[in-house]
């Protein structure tokens, strides 16, 4: 079995995996980072979004071996100790989550948005979220939370 090595949330990790192991499986099963979720099997729901070298990506749509040598950030790596990342804090402030299942991917995607388009309009925020499906919130408060984080990030 191939050995894969990468940096996850600032820590160098490696593990032996079958080549067919998805990155999300490696994170959840090998590293026990279960904050990254799987909500679909057609790369559409975005519950699995993490950052690879600073860019958001769907960890269900890449192999663990493809992440060899990269810097991966998961939802567990976003907060600074006990202090929530401004995006996490904004989601709490604006009730941008209900069941919490889509939340990790939603937050990771939103962080990437504010980094890349700090002044995105409501329309642009909604378009950016095309790859993240939420069934609980109707997106209303997610959009509000991201608009808030545009000010605080």
């Amino acid at each position: 079995m191939p050995t894969v090595t990468m940096t996850v949330n600032g820590k160098k990790v490696s593990g032996e995996v079958e080549a067919r192991t998805l990155l999300v499986q490696f994170l959840r099963e090998n590293l026990h980072l279960t904050g990254t979720h799987v909500g679909c099997d057609t790369s559409q729901c975005g519950a699995c979004v993490v950052h690879i070298n600073g860019d958001s990506a769907k960890s269900c749509s890449m192999l663990a071996v493809q992440a060899e040598g990269t810097e991966v950030t998961t939802i567990e790596g976003l907060a600074n100790g006990d202090e929530l990342h401004p995006m996490q804090a904004a989601f709490k402030e604006h009730h941008g989550l209900q069941c919490g299942f889509c939340t990790p991917g939603m937050v990771m995607s939103a962080v990437d948005l504010v980094k890349k388009k700090p002044k995105a309009s409501e329309h642009e925020i909604r378009e950016w979220l095309e790859g993240n499906i939420c069934r609980c919130t109707g997106y209303h408060n997610i959009v509000k939370a991201i608009q808030h984080a545009q000010q605080t990030m």
Binding site: Q44, E93, F101, C136, G138
Partner: protein
């Protein structure tokens, strides 16, 4: 309640958020048990087939495989149906068996045929490909309209595809009223079949402890005690004290996680055979063919009116799809959760409804957010809209003319329900204002100038929730009570744990319920813990569905809190050497009335557990009280939803420009959470109206079997919403609460479709199906164009 408070009415930020936001939630698939194996379920590719033979030998010897089981191995009880309906002739409904693993026949695509248990999920799936199933495919019944009278039977042993033929109301009197009507409006409605699609796919882990003989099931459930009862008593014959069911964090349910599913029984049963824990997690494609679907009605309805547009009588004929088997609560959805709602907010004096429930070779259909009430609301509000147009009365006037007036409560409908409170004029007025209805004509003109069609649609609706008085539902065929339980355990230092039978899977109970405690006991939020979801911790519970958690579960907590306060007052009276009746309790402090003698709550709690100076003759030590609350009636939230759409005639795209909801949900405990619940419901309602819909082909293959073909509402499909509440209080619970979980999904679909019809009416378009997808709308416009031109 001022900002910064934590009691009733405060928009307290959610207690549960931190763990979800930091990736520390604990969902079923996040749990791993020592020695765990993985199950893959082999499912039927056929909608209907006889199984001649299953050869599992190659799979059983594949790498990593611990066991392979088929229906021949798993001879257990049938997955039960929780509600018995009687047909109009008095006969009980047909209730065919529902085996967890197929017994010789499969009846829908996705039916469970075999289970492979292996060291890894990939190995289980690899091995499953080596199972050889010899099927003889049979013709399938997919279309409800063709299911009755045909030769193909979903269940041969019952000799029909008709589950029941039920009625409510007086047919003769209703017909007599129709005979006298000045005008009759008729409508044919299809309420489209939906897939609930909670974002967390279902999962289950079964575990058997050989030393104690105890089973544990971790499962994605809205009601763990119900699963324990149904699976233990009916399917696997495991007594409750040997079966623990844990529903940890659950990623959304919307009804789909109420039911007892085959996979729960399979992993629990098999765990004692393979002597290792077994995890099963659905992938999304599997969820599409194994989660209970929702809605799926075909209805013809007629409304009789006098010359002023006053409703005289309503006649409804509905076919409801049950799918291939009866899911847990499937049978009550198109009857007692549907036909009893057909009065809506109107004074219609006579109503008759006939419902035929039909088996087809499709996935079982059961309650999905709103369950029966969205179907009723859609029917009434489309019919009222049509009636207004036929009568030349405005959409608003016809509604106002027929509203149950605010002073008419309690109001007895002709279809069994008695509404306790409501003010439909107030919600309509407030919604019209919020939606800037006055500015609509100008906006319509502006759209027309761009070549677009703009429309405005109303829905004034009501629903029955807070499910439900046990005696009432018992007399109607429910095989369960629908009370809720709570235990308030005050700890010696004065902090509190509440054990509730309600289950939170997004609703924020850990916050809202804690607010009740904070209000009643004057405690800060951080001293309160809400515990739910584990049958070994919580005394009992009927769970969360039917917008019942606050009205029933919250009320049970209040009852237990009242008992705590009553006992604490006695303890305080003893310590302060005063009479019980002189003790007042406010903001966490006991006071002897008219004196400056006080005692904080924490001191009383400590005394209860260190009872040195304690009224032992009168009281037991400890401060731990329990209550079961059975509601006296349903609760009746209602309101007005107004939708404004703009349609691009070139593409057929319907854009929701404004969505306004003003709802009466009774007293609001946490306005932030209530608004969030309504947002979510609106998104699902707009989803039903414009985007979502199951398509089966004639062979029974689910065409919309993944997010590639089933249109989920995404952020760019929806506008920001305008939501507000305009509440009257529920008259039969102490909190005055009604429920808010389903109103958004119940009220909104007809508002959206009425808006689409309004936008296109001038083209000669009179009807619109759901989902009003771009193709459907474009085709309607395209075929109307020549007709409109010819007029």
């Amino acid at each position: 309640m001022p900002d910064g408070g934590t009691g009733i009415g405060a928009a307290v930020k959610r207690v549960e958020d931190k763990r979800f936001l930091t990736g520390r939630g604990n969902y079923t698939d996040d749990i791993n048990r020592p020695g765990q194996t993985y199950a893959y379920i082999l499912r039927s590719p056929h909608a209907h087939a006889k199984i001649n033979r299953i050869d599992t030998s190659a799979a059983a010897s594949a790498p990593g495989v611990a066991a392979v089981f088929t229906g021949a191995d798993m001879q257990v009880g049938s997955l039960p149906c929780g509600w018995q309906i009687h047909s109009k002739d008095g006969s009980p409904m047909h209730e065919p068996g529902h085996p967890p693993l197929a017994q010789g026949k499969v009846r829908c695509v996705g039916d469970q045929v075999a289970v492979v248990i292996a060291d890894t999920y990939a190995q289980a799936k690899d091995a499953a490909e080596k199972i050889v199933v010899d099927y003889s495919p049979l013709p399938a019944v997919i279309d409800m309209n063709k299911a009755l009278g045909g030769k193909t039977l979903v269940h041969d042993e019952i000799g029909t595809n008709l589950c029941y033929d039920w009625e409510i109301g007086d047919a003769a009197q209703t017909d007599a009223a129709f005979a006298k009507a000045a005008h009759v409006t008729k409508i044919d409605i299809v309420n489209n079949r939906l897939v609930p699609n909670a974002m967390e796919p279902r999962a289950a882990i079964g575990e058997f402890d050989q030393a104690t003989g105890e089973y544990t099931l971790y499962t994605t459930s809205q009601n763990p005690h119900v699963i324990r009862l149904l699976m233990g008593a009916f399917v696997l014959s495991i007594p409750e004290h040997k079966l623990r069911v844990v529903a940890p964090d659950v990623g959304g349910g919307f009804g789909s996680k109420i039911y007892h599913y085959a996979e729960e029984a399979i992993v629990t049963w098999a765990s004692s055979r393979v002597r290792r824990p077994i995890k099963w997690t659905a992938d999304r494609s599997e969820a599409f063919i194994s989660d209970a679907h929702g809605r799926d009605h075909i209805t013809h309805a007629e409304l009789a009116m006098d010359s002023e547009g006053k409703f005289l009588a309503l006649k409804v004929d509905t076919k409801a799809n049950m799918g291939a088997y009866l899911s847990t609560f499937a049978t009550c959805v198109p009857t007692y959760l549907y036909a009893t709602l057909l009065a809506g907010v109107y004074t219609t004096p006579l109503i008759y409804c006939n419902v035929k429930a039909i088996f087809t070779n499709t996935v079982p259909v059961d309650a999905y957010r709103g369950a029966g009430r969205p179907e009723a609301t859609y029917l009434i509000e489309r019919l009222v809209d049509r009636a207004a147009r036929e009568m030349g009365i405005s959409q608003v006037d016809i509604r106002r003319r027929n509203f149950i007036p605010p002073d008419a409560f309690p109001y007895q409908t002709p279809v069994a329900l008695q509404y306790d409170s409501g003010n439909y004029i107030a919600t309509l007025d407030a919604a019209q204002k919020a939606a800037d209805v006055d500015g609509f004509e100008a906006r319509r003109k502006a759209s027309a100038a761009k070549g677009k069609h703009r429309g405005l649609g109303y829905s004034t609706y009501l629903e029955a929730c807070g499910i439900a008085p046990s005696a009432v539902v018992g007399s109607l065929g429910a095989r369960a009570g629908l009370y809720e339980s709570a235990e308030v355990r005050v700890h010696p230092t004065g902090s509190v744990t509440v054990f509730t039978g309600s289950h939170s899977h997004g609703q924020g109970h850990e916050t809202t319920f804690a607010q009740l405690v904070s209000e009643k006991l004057g405690l800060p939020m951080e001293n309160i813990e809400i515990s739910h979801g584990d049958t070994n911790k919580v005394q009992f519970g009927m769970g969360t569905y039917g917008s019942r958690s606050l009205a029933v579960g919250g009320e049970a907590i209040v009852k237990a809190l009242d008992k705590v306060i009553a006992k604490a007052k006695k303890i305080a009276a003893h310590i302060m050497e005063a009479s019980d009746s002189d003790i007042e309790f406010k903001d966490g402090v006991f006071t002897v009335a008219g004196t400056d003698k006080t005692l904080p709550f924490g001191q009383v709690a400590l005394t209860a557990y260190v009872p040195h100076n304690f009224p032992h003759q009168e009281l037991e030590p400890g401060l731990d009280e329990k209550a079961f609350y059975d509601p006296l009636n349903f609760t009746f939230p209602g309101g007005c939803h107004i939708c404004e759409v703009e349609i691009d005639p070139d593409t057929g795209v319907v854009k929701v420009e404004r969505m306004t909801a003003v709802d009466d949900v009774g007293r609001v405990i946490n306005p932030m959470i209530v608004a969030g619940q309504i947002h979510g419901g609106l998104a699902q309602g707009i989803g039903q109206a414009l985007l979502e819909g199951c398509v089966y082909d004639d062979d029974g293959q689910l065409v919309t079997g993944s997010y590639m073909d089933y249109t989920m509402p995404r952020a760019d499909n929806l506008p920001s919403f305008s939501v507000g509440t305009e509440s009257t209080l529920c008259q039969h619970n102490s909190l005055g609460v009604k429920g808010c979980g389903e109103v958004g999904a119940i009220g909104s679909p007809p508002a959206v479709i009425n808006a689409v019809v309004d936008a296109l009416w001038h083209l000669g378009i009179r009807d619109m199906t759901m989902p009003a997808s771009p193709q459907v709308v474009w085709a309607a416009i395209n075929s109307a164009r020549p007709a409109a031109a010819a007029e």
